[in-house]
Symmetry: C2
Subunit: 498 residues, 2 copies
């Protein structure tokens, strides 16, 4: 048996991440953003443990409403992505219940298993160092310790929790360090003291332990959660332990609302106390040990955190995309397509998206949530959805919405097709601008080539399909008294959508 | 004879105004912007003297390349706009040659005339006070003085030129004041001295004089310009003075490149020394008198100047359009459609347009020209043209340009039509989203209703027309290997375009 056969990565991907608005939206949370590095944070997190543990030992814990999009989001990882397992929380209830639920499922499958618990939205640029530290942590976990990674502070940061460890005799802080206490986010004065005294580390929120150990600790320190989990167990695994395999595994498992057994315990799960694993277990357990990480890390808690992880120019600036600057300093300017021109900014953050631009002083990036709250109150769309929406078959971009019409650019991946569908209140004109569209319209099937167009009347079953090897791109002009996304009835869908 | 029958308003509208980028573009200079007040600066300038002098006494001096767009820009002023006269400079040569050219034309038409010379891009919110001061100025001009308006300084401004006047015995600075000297833009220390000493006024650049007087002063102080103007006169007015009426007047005079007589003196005009009337005449003439203005004024020299003229909230901010703010101070935030969210800005200016956003500290708004220079160097479009382009028949907005295609929303005014045209390298799909389109396609003429579409192949003569009383709106999807505006050949145009 390989040393990692029973090591599982539990990736926590339930967060919504309003702090990265306007790039993050309700339908596109922080973990799905490509903010740093070559891929999205979630996919980077998966890649970090791929090839280190078996693919099927990678579990994503997310909420039921995010599960399907998260599943499709992993597609670019290739065929192996289909082996990744999902545990869907009926609703979000902070990390202790989420980890408890995952441990409950895992315990049945592999009683001797070790869990690596990782947030899905942190930046860790150096995979090799991470894996090297991880091996030490797994060893510690097998000795029945709860292992946490501490990051050596480089500044008096007030945005992180701290871990104080016993000063080792050699003052080297290597190996498994005994934890004195966990500390909440300090004020600036306290953070400065931590930094000068030494022996204080940032709490990374990355944990390693045996499944049996964390369940035992939950039983001891969170007896109410433990009790509830046991009650749920009888719903999730009605007969025997093979039931879990039936529920969770099998080639292309899709998270699905039809998963009745999880739905059965929804109400009970919703009643669980919302509590973090740090507060519920780590601060109380006597068996916690910390490893000082050798890897660079950021929890990307706000836009200002990019300074920790991205390279800055001589004036301390970070520029992305279409920008022109005159004399700015220590600023972060992120554009997509549109031109952002800046003059003489100091300690500012500018983030541009097609429908919203954020401009804030760097020391107030935490207050982005206030903007999101205003948008929610006003029933606006800019916190919910992006102009460009990723779909399993490709993507669409809303180019304009006017009175009685809406214009979209639709891109269909090679060999992909949309559902067979109709709309009750709108007709659609399609102009093909690249590729060849195979169009089904009621009983007709026909091909529309580049620079040709077709018309789909209201109440007409239709389907758009790309049978070519290259991309298909069409411009869709919708006409009708109601042109919203929910005017759709699907009759047949490749991707199991209703 | 009415007292103002021979009073003429000479509105200088040749400026390009890069300092208001990204709202101003080469094809949409500052005077065509609606920055303050209910209309564009140029139309406000026209309205300021409308009903005070005869409509046909309003003359616009602009450059040949801007004349046609400026003419169409006046359309919303109604039928009276057709009586406004145009004097087109072959090229821009600063204010002395422009005023000289206008005076030359005017002298022939009305030897006893009084000229009110006004920039087209200043803000003067109070029309009544302006007219009341103007009457005093006209009286002074009739007494053979060169009258200029001085603005009482309210702060040690370093962006304006100053006029020092002789201290009147009653210290009231009323009536015609004798000018001691004109002063260039001062440094801050000097500006502070001016403010504390009194007797210094901002130079507004608004002048009133007799046409014969300014020509005499040009002859005395700018003999070379005077000489050149006289040479040009023989081209512009070859036979007798009625020739000018033939050239300049007549119902719907359209500025036109076919105006051969002006073209004849192009080369000569281009050779004129580029010199301002302030430097060339006002600083030297012995007959200058200043009137202290009773009206509020701003030359809108930069974005920061909006503070002088627009109302600020309690925190000193100015917000326009779609904005959400948390705790900003003394900032100017102008959005059009897209959301601009700001947190904790101090003394900043943010100006958003569909294809470019400017973010600058308020004390560096003068440096916007540096951004425009970079755009020119890089052959970018963002300083040339807006996404939405006004046309005599309506407007179009580029929604997206992609590889081999371009999408436009086209709005056609009631009873208006585009030219009969064809394109060599693109075809066009038209989807009508509101109204009814009358379409000419080679020999066919047909109607396309809302939610219907039609196709215009390459190399096919076509015309789009709105015969209804309401607006017509279509979405145009262009397909071709080249989808630029210059791929157009016009066969017949309502608006005399080629």
């Amino acid at each position: 048996m390989n040393a990692t056969t029973n090591v599982f990565a539990i990736i926590l991907a339930g967060g919504s991440g309003t702090r990265f608005w306007p790039l993050s939206r309700e339908t596109c949370p922080k973990q799905m953003l490509q903010i740093v590095g070559e891929d999205t944070l979630l996919r980077q997190t998966v890649k970090r443990v791929q090839d280190f543990i078996p693919q099927k030992n990678i579990w994503i814990v997310t909420t039921e409403d995010k599960a399907r999009d998260t599943w499709f989001h992993l597609d670019p990882l290739g065929p192996l992505a289909k082996e990744i397992q999902f545990v869907s929380e009926p609703v979000g209830r902070n990390t202790a219940p989420a980890i408890g639920l995952a441990a409950l499922c895992l315990q049945r499958l592999s009683p001797e298993s070790v869990m690596i618990v990782m947030p899905s939205d942190h930046a860790i640029p150096d995979r090799e160092r991470f894996l090297s530290d991880l091996k030490i942590a797994i060893q510690g976990a097998r000795e029945d310790y709860l292992i946490t990674f501490g990051i050596k502070p480089t500044r008096p940061e007030t945005g992180y929790g701290y871990i104080q460890v016993e000063k080792p005799s050699d003052s080297k802080y290597s190996g498994l360090l005994k934890v004195e206490r966990f500390l909440e986010k300090p004020d600036l004065q306290t953070a400065r003291t931590f930094l000068s005294e030494g022996g204080y580390f940032w709490n990374s929120g990355i944990f390693v332990w045996k499944t049996s150990k964390i369940l035992a600790e939950i039983e001891e320190y969170l007896p109410s959660l433990s009790h509830s989990l046991k009650k749920m167990e009888s719903f999730i695994f009605p007969s025997d332990k093979t039931a879990f395999a039936d529920l969770k595994t099998g080639g292309a498992h899709r998270p699905d609302k039809s998963d009745q057994r999880l739905a059965l315990c929804s109400a009970r799960y919703a009643e669980l106390e919302s509590i973090s694993i740090d507060y519920g277990i780590m601060e109380r357990s006597k068996d916690v040990r910390m490893i000082q990480s050798s890897f660079q890390w950021s929890d990307l808690g706000s836009w200002a955190a990019l300074d920790e992880i991205l390279e800055r120019d001589r004036a301390g600036n970070i520029f992305r995309g279409n920008t022109i600057d005159v004399d700015s300093q220590n600023s972060i300017i992120l554009s997509e397509k549109r031109l952002i021109a800046t003059i003489g900014l100091k300690d500012m953050v500018v983030v541009d998206t097609p429908d919203a631009t954020l401009i804030t002083s760097k020391d107030r990036t935490q207050e982005v949530r206030k903007i999101v709250e205003v948008l929610k109150e006003k029933n606006r769309e800019e916190h919910l959805i992006h102009r460009t929406v990723e779909r399993p078959w490709g993507s669409y971009t809303v180019l304009e919405k006017g009175n009685g019409y809406k214009i979209k650019r639709i891109s269909v991946k090679p060999k992909a097709r949309l559902s067979l569908q109709w709309h009750r209140r709108r007709s659609e004109h399609w102009v093909v601008v690249s590729g060849v569209a195979k169009v089904t319209r009621e009983n007709e099937v026909y091909w529309v080539h580049t620079n040709e167009s077709t018309f789909i009347p209201m109440n007409t079953k239709h389907r758009l399909e790309n049978q070519e090897d290259g991309p298909l791109q069409i411009i869709e002009v919708q006409n009708g008294d109601y042109v919203e996304e929910d005017d759709i009835e699907r009759f047949d869908d490749e991707y199991g959508r209703q």
